[in-house]
Symmetry: C2
Subunit: 321 residues, 2 copies
Amino acid sequence: MKDVAQHAGVSTATVSRVLNGHAAPTPETRERVLAAIEELGYRPNALARSLRTTSTQTLGLVISDLLNPFFAEIARAVEDEARSHGYCVVIGNADESAEQEATYVRTLLDRRVDGLLLCPATDDPGLVREVSAGGVPLVLLDRTVRGATCPVVRADGSEALTALARRLVGAGHTRVGVIAGPPDTSTGRERTDVFTGALGGLAQVVHGDFRQESGSQAAAKLIDDGATALVAMDNLMGLGALAEIRGRGLRIPHDIALAVFDDQPWFPLLDPPITVVAQPTVEMGRAAARSLLALINGQQPDDVRLTAKLVLRGSLGEAEL
Amino acid sequence: MKDVAQHAGVSTATVSRVLNGHAAPTPETRERVLAAIEELGYRPNALARSLRTTSTQTLGLVISDLLNPFFAEIARAVEDEARSHGYCVVIGNADESAEQEATYVRTLLDRRVDGLLLCPATDDPGLVREVSAGGVPLVLLDRTVRGATCPVVRADGSEALTALARRLVGAGHTRVGVIAGPPDTSTGRERTDVFTGALGGLAQVVHGDFRQESGSQAAAKLIDDGATALVAMDNLMGLGALAEIRGRGLRIPHDIALAVFDDQPWFPLLDPPITVVAQPTVEMGRAAARSLLALINGQQPDDVRLTAKLVLRGSLGEAEL
DNA sequence: GACGGCCGTGTAATCGATTAACTACTGCGC
DNA sequence: GCGCAGTAGTTAATCGATTACACGGCCGTC
């Protein structure tokens, strides 16, 4: 910056003013400064600027698993929304581990992100408190924690799950195997509670960990126990269940029905296409980013609750259509 | 930091030494400082530290599309490798747009990443030159550019594609539709060249843009032109082709054969499972991160060329088995 | 013609760390 | 008792920006 100033025959203050679009500098001075910048290929140091202004124009996003298309879509939406407001997003991959999640959150705080978007790995409010104590704007996404005091953005699947349960009962299923998420996550618990409640005793629950392998294992157990329908509460576990079903040579929906929480672009291409509860991922990501930006600007955004929809496609059998 | 120093009755220099594990401070002093840090909940400001040390312990990664599982896997692998060396990764999503790619690269440079990993959207070496001119360590990943002067990490699919072509010819296919990538990307061109060369005149090529929609359109055109086999040069275009095939009620492999470049976890679950050329994504990501770290440490890593493998699964028909 | 106001720039303090150079103290040998 | 080496800790410069305040020139008014 000093070089630029010297080159243009002005002080660094003037260079800074030109850079930040202040009213002061003469058009002529401005021109000289811009020429010098161009000539020297100068680019301002964002670190120094942030240090001085205490604003990084950066949002932190800590998600549970980048390989899960659900979170990838959310990340993408958050990024789009943030960018359109001049913010940049730094993504942290917690890998469904509370420990790694904490590490990432701290790293992001150390780098002074202007706000943080978090998909908490567990119910534990400890980390959320830590962030709040630091006074950093925080919005929870997809999942919440016990006694959360910050805005939460998530999808409500109750209606869709209730409708799904009704279909299954109506189709005469007697044992519905539920491949549930971890009981220490809000989404894991809530979805399972609503769904088993609506099934009224027909449900048999096995908990997985939101990963493919656990889906296969849970499916195996449930099939062995005589389940006539399987419902996976997350798309990766759904993939695992599907693999197990195929591995055993069972046919959907003839031998067993299947439904999955979270849609995927390839679900409609299976034979039969998979019935799902589809979350509005893009909306969730955008809404979360908007809430966080509002919080950063001193407003108090409300919680956002979007609605997940039941998409019937055929994997439950004719009964559904 | 001043607060901590005051609290512990020492100077900021001493606090800094404790923080950085310097030899100087007495165990007793160290203890007092750590206690003060603990008590005040102090966390060092990474911006200030980086400004002073000119090292951010951060790698930039600019990929073409986060929603493409191929890149998501790479990102994941890069992150793992980087983290294990104490580095953090900032991901930028270029969305297959050269403009957005340039924006991201500049943003990352402004934030003074210690090194940059780039999956270039096009062949154009302009951006690569810009980065090199800035003296920032750079490694190209998956794709290269014309006259690249930096290390490149990629997968070689020639062997697999040649074998694939041989199978198709052997099975008696007369018109093979190739859904190619953009001709201004190295992967798009190379894969197509090798494959059509090996097919010796049986190939009909339509270019897509590495996205699902373009895959469907290309497939439609090729099917209309009487293709008996379709090969998509990227997994998203493969997904699009599959959708088009299903949409027309065609059966694989009876009516048409299909193979895709890039594997996906759900390809084996289709009926029939899809034959693919599988790239070693995790290896690629790790290798790229390692090369970049080597470059940062002043070494001169070689280009890395990994091998993609043909995985036969059934979507080419009995001929393949 | 002198004075007050306004405008474009420059000077210098500041953000929060790191670190070279210096100071103060301890203890040892002669 | 004195000097010297060695060690623990402090002072202050520095990284590259932003910005409050000061300064000097120009113009209009009485």
